[in-house]
Assembly symmetry: C2
Homo-oligomer: 78 residues x 2
């Protein structure tokens, strides 16, 4: 079983991408783990290690896909 | 039945996104229409009308999701 991690920060751009993923992703194959980095800043370093530069972003089997642009990761640290 | 249109231009960034979509999208619900704008420049205006600014991009039920960044649409016209 593969896992898809969706990193977001609660912004409207992120919410749109989240709805898209929830409705379209084959969750039997890729159960979606949704991480709100504003509420879980302790997971920012995981996101960075995975190669995430901005949110919303989807990490699927280790590959990062930045979807549109909501916020830079650096802005979530302050 | 909804349709998902994936616009790309044959670049490596696009190919990565295409593989991700093919493997993860629930195609029973969203059959994927793949459009290579380098080979089908006559469809660039459709893409622009849908709000696509760069490829790769996914248009799902009228909403545009730009995935990573391969090429600006303007560069595909020349």
């Amino acid at each position: 079983m593969s896992t898809a991690i969706f990193y977001h920060a609660g912004c409207p751009v992120c919410m749109g991408a989240e709805q898209m993923l929830l409705s379209s992703l084959n969750q039997d194959k890729f159960p979606l783990d949704i991480v709100h980095l504003g509420e879980q800043p302790q997971r920012i370093s995981d996101a960075e290690s995975a190669g995430v530069k901005s949110v919303p972003a989807l990490v699927l089997e280790g590959q990062v896909f930045h979807i549109n642009f909501g916020a830079a990761l650096a802005d979530l640290k302050s």
